[in-house]
Symmetry: C2
Subunit: 298 residues, 2 copies
């Protein structure tokens, strides 16, 4: 009736993220082991005991036991210790082990970790977690990359992991996550700068509704095209307008960090003289602008 093969998952590092994922894996009927360098520290020993009881995860007495008892090693340590973690378990890895690194680290660090363990197992999975684990547990969306990413996808999708396989060299999944962050974290702070100034100046509803109308009455493709092509041609005028905007924010004692970034970005774009490159005509597609910026850079 059940074709699922029993899988043992071993967490190196058992902080909040690992614990939450373990709760999810437990609900899928999987076995979970863990080893955390702090687990025997008297300050934390009770916390780890409690987490182990709640998630029915088995505390391993050594990193060696963790490797022996687990099919999939999940590195869920702190960003600054993920290389150390890889080095510490390396002697005990075999070619059958999957090693998945879910830490939020740079593409370069992900590649370094692969270099450390590749002589033992090629089943390295670079994972980039999109969003936060609490609430979603093991179902949190992840981009995964690596030679065996497709196999890992097939193995774990039946247990409701939400995996998207990304082609390309190790680091690609993380690069996508990082570049997504440029936009998503940026739009969040941009909204805060805009709306908190509007709130202070008693024009909240008008500013909010004006932006809402502009965003909701066109598709993302239309919006992107209009904004990128317009900026390419009008960077000089808009740069000066941003000076006025910054003055207004300053005089009303509002924050202007994002506006400063916008002003400086317009200055950077203006320095490429794209208006001249496009002979004063707005290009029809934003991709022409990205190509022009790329040419200008290289």
């Amino acid at each position: 009736l059940n074709n699922k093969k029993q899988i043992n998952i071993g967490f190196i590092g058992f902080g909040e993220g690992a614990f939450e994922m373990s709760m999810g894996f437990k609900s899928e009927g999987l076995y979970v082991n863990f080893y955390d360098v702090l687990q025997d520290n008297l300050k934390y020993i009770d916390i780890f005991r409690e987490k182990a009881i709640k998630s029915e995860a088995k505390r391993m007495t050594s990193i060696k036991s963790l490797a022996i008892e687990s099919d999939i090693i999940v590195s869920a340590v702190t960003s600054d210790t993920c290389i150390e973690a890889a080095n510490s378990i390396k002697p005990y890895l075999t070619e059958n082990h999957y090693y998945i690194d879910i830490n939020s680290v740079s593409p370069i660090t992900k590649r370094k970790i692969f270099e450390i363990i590749r002589s033992k197992t090629l089943k390295f999975i670079e994972a980039a977690v999109i969003g936060t684990i609490p609430g979603k547990q093991h179902k949190v969306p992840m981009l995964i990359c690596g030679e065996f990413a497709k196999d890992f996808y097939k193995l774990m999708t039946p247990y409701n992991m939400n995996l998207t396989v990304i082609k390309g060299e190790i680091g690609t999944a993380t690069t996508i996550k990082m570049l997504r962050s440029v936009f998503m974290k940026g739009i969040a702070t941009l909204l805060i700068e805009t709306l908190s100034a509007a709130f202070e100046c008693n024009v909240f509803d008008l500013v909010y509704n004006s932006i809402k109308d502009t965003l909701e009455n066109r598709t993302f493709d239309e919006l992107t095209n209009r904004l990128i092509c317009g900026t390419a041609i009008h960077s000089n005028r808009r740069k000066h307008e941003m000076d006025e905007v910054i003055n207004t924010l300053k005089s009303t004692k509002n924050q202007y960090l994002m506006s400063k970034g916008t002003r400086d970005s317009l200055d950077w774009i203006d320095s490429m003289d794209l208006k001249n490159y496009f002979k004063g005509e707005m290009p029809a597609e934003y991709i022409r602008v990205l190509e022009a910026i790329s040419k200008n850079k290289n």
Copy 2:
């Protein structure tokens, strides 16, 4: 059959914007006059003559004649000369004149202009042009503000001007425009920073589609709520993540001006310790976050 009253419009300054609007007013059957300080300059005399012929606008020989021959004075000069323009026409204004300032200047400058002319006419219209005039001509959307803004709206809407009356003191329309600019110009440069890096790193489609999905699968209200409330609680973690993002942009030789602004904004938000203020719970509505920021500031 036609209840429209004949109106004479007088432009102080007859650059591209004024000329384009004149073309539109002509098509509505209105009369246009203009006076530009450069109109007798030998370098520009032919250009003004050509514009006058095309738009059928009458060139006035003095600012005095412009005032006498026009019902509505439109100040469309350069940002740094709009105060000078108001001073120069002031002696010839009467209480029947509308004086509409469409220049892109700060709310403070708009108020200064009102102070200059108010002893002659109270019919001062603060206008904030949203978007660009070429292509839209006199139909370009404008926010207008002032004691007589409603009357101006009634007078000019039959001629297809696209006016929105804003309540509040002079400067309010411009404040709305400026704060709208914080967001609209910011999201444009943010898209350019994100997508040009994605283009360079050969992950364009994946980054683009991931952002597109996130924006298109929720309303603006949902997006704003999620982004602002999430940032309030997770500012510390996200600040550190932005450091990694910036390192990635640097190491791939991409621009990071907006990301720097985002990182610094998160640092600013983090300094308010909103996580503690909200007792670790994500607030349900973003307006709570804006209130908390406001409290923190005042």
